[in-house]
């Protein structure tokens, strides 16, 4: 199954900041090359398991911060995916010799992983979303539980470092749930959310309340 090239192109350009502008010719050439090769340069793998097939419900999902998922877990599944180490190595090498190409390839790899995940969800749970630990005040460290329960090290080669980073870098893990919509209202860190302060949300939609966004100003000067 192929991800539509036009979708990848659009998403990659948005990722690079070109949402309202046209890129120059050199960037387009680099982008075209990255888009043409991304499937070959990466080794996409995914692994999942329905919560109901686990011997017991994962303990981390009982935490208050996961309250918004309650009632949706009967049909939910744990999911992890990766593009493998080769693409990390390629971006790393490029970043030393042709940094601008590395930046473009990095963007393409990110949107490709995202698109492959979306294709999977569309197939297995139409309308479902991937809720990743770290969203909405949940701890990124819960990735460890997701990856352990999926035995992702064995199936996908995803390692979680002590710092909480996943290796390969282009990896994701979380819980796929149906009928879920992200909202700041139910979020436990709403009062101290940096996104909201900047009039943004962690799920890419506009911030719901303007008054919180006024105080948000990127401070580029003396800290």
């Amino acid at each position: 199954m192929c991800v539509p090239a036009s979708l990848l192109r659009h998403n990659a350009l948005t990722y690079l900041g070109y949402s309202d502008s046209d890129p120059d010719e050199q960037t387009l050439v680099t982008l075209h090359s990255a888009l043409s090769h991304i499937a070959e340069w990466s080794a996409y793998k995914q692994h999942y398991s329905y919560l109901k097939d686990l011997s017991e419900a994962p303990a981390f999902l009982q935490q208050e911060s996961y309250r918004s998922l309650q009632g949706k877990l009967d049909t939910a599944l744990l999911f992890a995916a990766t593009l493998g180490l080769d693409i990390d190595r390629r971006i790393q090498s490029l970043s030393l010799s042709r940094l601008s190409e590395a930046v473009v390839l990095n963007a393409v790899a990110n949107v490709y992983l995202e698109a492959r995940k979306e294709m999977f969800i569309k197939e297995i749970m139409p309308g479902g979303v991937l809720f990743c630990p770290g969203y909405a005040g949940t701890s990124p460290q819960d990735n460890r539980s997701v990856l352990n329960l999926l035995d992702a090290k064995k199936h996908l080669g995803i390692y979680l470092k002590d710092s909480g980073l996943m290796m390969p870098e282009k990896s994701m893990a979380g819980i796929v749930v149906a009928n879920y919509s992200f909202s700041c209202r139910a979020c436990s860190i709403r009062s101290k959310c940096d996104y909201l302060r900047q009039a943004k949300t962690c799920y890419g939609k506009p911030a719901p309340e303007r008054k919180e966004s006024r105080s948000a100003k990127r401070d580029n000067t003396k800290a």
């Binding site: 690079l16 900041g17 070109y18 309202d20 502008s21 890129p23 120059d24 050199q26 960037t27 680099t30 080794a43 793998k45 398991s49 109901k52 097939d53 686990l54 011997s55 017991e56 493998g84 180490l85 080769d86 190595r89 971006i91 790393q92 090498s93 970043s95 030393l96 010799s97 042709r98 940094l99 601008s100 190409e101 590395a102 930046v103 473009v104 990095n106 770290g134 990124p140 460290q141 090290k153 064995k154 080669g157 390692y159 470092k161 002590d162 710092s163 909480g164 980073l165 290796m167 870098e169 940096d194 302060r197 900047q198 100003k217 990127r218 401070d219 580029n220 000067t221 003396k222 800290a223």
Partner: protein, 774 residues
């Protein structure tokens, strides 16, 4: 290892975990603790395998090592003692061999992860030292990282004389999780002296048949193959395997036909599986043809040593001040860039030499080897006159390298041949000895023959040696060139590979490139196989490609045609200002040539480079250009600065000052930091790049040594912000006089303030503005 292993099929045991997880009484415990908590269950499983006909049983010690067992209620010694005793009890007086099972640590090794090579080695050494007089051998299994299994193999080989089996797992793409192919695994494990390499776990047995064939082509050793019983199915908390025992045993027969010598089972197999498999026991094995031993590799790239290759010579600080400085300050970015540019120019492997005065060459060669392997997958030629440095670098090299060099001198052969034998490396062999360089062809051949004989006595085939015919300056004696050519012809008659360090020939004469190029062609026609040269010299590379096409070394002229089919880049005649503004890297040389005829370097910086960068910055802020264009302009400007620096600016010391950059401990994302580096350099700042995953102490050391203009720290993840905070605190505790600038995707001005940083830079241009204000 018993000789019968290479004559007849042997049968190993099957899974331990599969049987244990099916038992609800024990499946919540650590499997290794069961040796003490439920010894009767472990004993029963071992006995069932012995009764099923297994000729080897593995102890229940997969995770019994200091790293993985650190949270157990039992000590490592308790677990090992109990596990070995149970296996011995089960074997009784049978001829069944007890193999101590060792699995991976579960952690990633540097540079991908946090575990060092030496820590990994020590982890396995602890186990081996305690068990070597208690078992019949070792089996390392289910490893997915070539580097980790390498550390474990060295721990076993250096601390015991027992037989060693070592198996890795492959995914459906036919590679290990870190990207090694079956050929590379077979080559590397055999080179390190493993008695039985092989495959275990992985996928379903039918997928392993081609992988076994591929391994078989790269080792003459017996192969151990222990597949899973098909793919696992998870349902309602339990795992099952769809393949029947009969099908599994059928495929086992196919695996034996493909080259497996010892067969067993991994996940999903039980004593019943092994009982059916026992029918293969004592089946005579085919004689395996000797395999080619003139291959080298990195962890992901295999290379046959043969005519037509190029060894890149540029990772050598001799006569290169910038590289010398970079190595002295442990700034390996420059070395990495040199490696990548040689790879892009067509080098097949790279010579690596770090001989810098006043540096600890042993330590430096090790670190440089790791750093180059981190970003470049070409195999390396480890180059040093210090055997200790060669030994240390061979130890940490991931794959099978070449060393440069051995020669006919007794002490040199005594020091280096054991290293070649131990690590299975190839070597450049110089045709000189204690008496110096013979001035006759016969003298050089005598030395070559002596080296071949001494190497053969150590089991090292002459295919693993590349003989250097030695080039001396024709300016001192005009016959030297012809002497080298005649030596090459004579060496080829001996059936060995040849090399020369090309550029010596022209020393002391004008227009050296012309002489080098001419001599290269003369040497190639005289039998030179693998020149060591500068691959960035386009004319040399063109000559070489043409020679390979004409001589048949490039089958079907494939490389020559593919090279020629790349249309030459059209050089444009834009001004330097326009070239930087548009990021036109290819047009830079011409623009520089033109402008240098009109202006002085400082004028160029002030009137063209800086204004162009300012304009790019302005357009970036107005969202008229975006990150890729900004970086391209910065990269071109940086090259222009470097060019000017090499020519003139060093003398006038117009650098804007030194900035230390680091991605903090725990974080390995460094694209953002690299962008800042390029932009700073494009504005004339010198950058000491400490890299990624940098310890606080290393940042403090850089401050103490260099007293920089500023220190920039980067972190991408919320989880690594505390690490950044610790580094900032440590710098403040040191009363560091330079400002600390922090940046990264998750940072904000308020976070920066909270951690005590002096400035927050949202992007590279903000960092420039901050530095300009200092």
């Amino acid at each position: 290892m018993p000789e019968s292993i290479s004559k007849k099929v042997q049968v190993f045991d099957g899974a331990m975990g599969t049987v244990l997880t099916a038992d609800p009484e024990v499946n919540s415990f650590l499997p290794e603790e069961l040796n003490l908590l439920f010894p009767e269950k472990i004993l029963a499983i071992h006995r069932a395998y012995v009764e099923a006909g297994a000729q080897f049983i593995t102890t229940n010690t997969f995770s019994a090592n200091p790293i993985k067992l650190n949270s157990s209620r039992f000590s490592l010694h308790q677990v090992l003692d109990a596990a070995i005793m149970l296996a011995r009890q089960a074997a009784g007086e049978s001829s069944c061999k007890i193999m101590l099972n060792m699995g991976p640590t579960g952690k990633l090794l540097e540079p991908l992860g946090e575990l060092s090579f030496e820590e990994t080695y020590e982890n396995y050494k602890t186990v081996v030292e305690y068990t070597k007089d208690k078992v019949d051998g070792y089996v390392l299994e289910t490893f997915s990282d070539l580097y980790e299994i390498r550390a474990a193999i060295l721990a076993v080989k250096e601390n015991s004389a027992l037989p060693l089996m070592a198996t890795m797992t492959f995914d459906t793409s036919g590679r290990t999780l870190t990207g090694s192919s079956p050929e590379i695994v077979a080559l590397t494990l055999s080179a390190l002296g493993v008695d039985v390499p092989g495959i275990n776990c992985s996928t379903s047995p039918e997928y392993l048949i081609p992988l076994v064939k591929r391994m078989r082509a790269f080792t003459h050793l017996p192969l151990l193959v222990q597949p899973n019983k098909g793919f696992p199915i998870l349902c309602r908390g339990s795992v099952s395997y769809a393949m029947s025992d009969e099908d599994f045993v059928y495929y086992t027969g196919k695996l034996i036909d493909a080259g497996a010598s010892i067969v067993g089972g991994c996940c999903g197999t039980t004593p019943a599986t092994i009982a059916l498999m026992a029918k293969y026991k004592s089946l005579p094995l085919k004689e395996y043809a000797p395999v080619a031993d003139n291959y080298i590799c990195s962890s992901t790239r295999l290379l046959k040593l043969q005519q037509g290759l190029v060894c890149g010579e540029r990772l050598n600080p001799t006569g290169k001040k910038t590289l010398q400085q970079a190595l002295l300050y442990s700034d390996f970015g420059y070395l990495q860039q040199e490696a990548l540019s040689q790879q892009e120019a067509g080098a097949h492997f790279l010579d690596l030499n770090v001989g810098v005065p006043n540096a600890d060459e042993v330590d430096l060669l090790c670190r440089a080897t790791k750093k180059v392997q981190e970003i470049c997958d070409l195999p390396l030629q480890l180059d040093s006159s210090n055997p200790e440095a060669i030994g240390a670098a061979l130890r940490v090299y991931n794959g099978v390298p070449v060393i440069n060099s051995i020669n006919g001198s007794g002490p040199v052969l005594k020091a280096l041949l054991p290293l070649l034998a131990k690590y299975g490396a190839s070597a450049v062999a110089l045709t000189l000895d204690e008496q110096g360089i013979p001035e006759t062809v016969e003298g050089r051949l005598r030395i070559a023959k002596r080296i071949i004989a001494r190497a053969a006595a150590r089991g090292i085939n002459k295919n693993r040696l590349i003989f250097d015919a030695l080039v001396m300056a024709v300016s001192s004696n005009q016959s030297y060139g012809l002497l080298t050519l005649e030596t090459l012809r004579s060496l080829k008659k001996m059936g060995v590979l040849t090399t020369i360090g090309l550029s010596n020939v022209s020393f002391g004469l004008p227009d050296r490139p012309l002489l080098n190029r001419s001599f290269l062609l003369m040497a190639l026609t005289s039998g030179l196989d693998i020149p060591i040269l500068n691959p960035l010299d386009k004319e040399n590379m063109q000559s070489l490609r043409a020679f390979n096409a004409l001589s048949g070394a490039d089958p079907a002229c494939e490389n020559y045609i593919s090279y020629r089919s790349i249309s030459p880049v059209q050089e444009q005649s834009d001004s330097l200002y326009q070239v930087v503004l548009s990021g036109l890297k290819e047009s830079l040389p011409q623009a520089m040539n033109t402008i240098l005829k009109e202006k002085e370097p400082q004028q160029i910086i002030n009137e063209d480079l800086i204004p162009a960068l300012d304009e790019v910055g302005l357009r970036f802020e107005k969202k008229l250009v975006f990150l890729p264009q900004l970086i391209r302009s910065a990269e071109v400007a940086r090259q222009a600065f470097q060019h000017l620096g090499e020519m003139y600016v060093q003398k006038t010391d117009k650098s804007q000052g030194l900035v230390v950059l680091a991605t903090v401990k725990g974080d390995i994302h460094d694209i953002g930091k690299n962008i800042v580096k390029v932009v700073l350099e494009s504005h004339g700042y010198r950058v000491l790049d400490l890299g990624k995953n940098v310890d606080t102490e290393k940042v403090l050391e850089a401050y103490r040594t260099h007293r920089p203009l500023a220190i920039g720290l980067s972190a991408l993840m919320t989880t690594t912000v505390p690490s950044m905070s610790r580094t900032v605190e440590a710098l403040k505790a040191l009363n560091a006089e330079c400002p600390v600038i922090v940046g990264g995707a998750v940072l904000t001005g308020s976070l920066a303030r909270e951690m005590g940083a002096d400035y927050y830079a949202a992007d590279a241009l903000t960092a420039i503005r901050i530095l300009e204000e200092l």
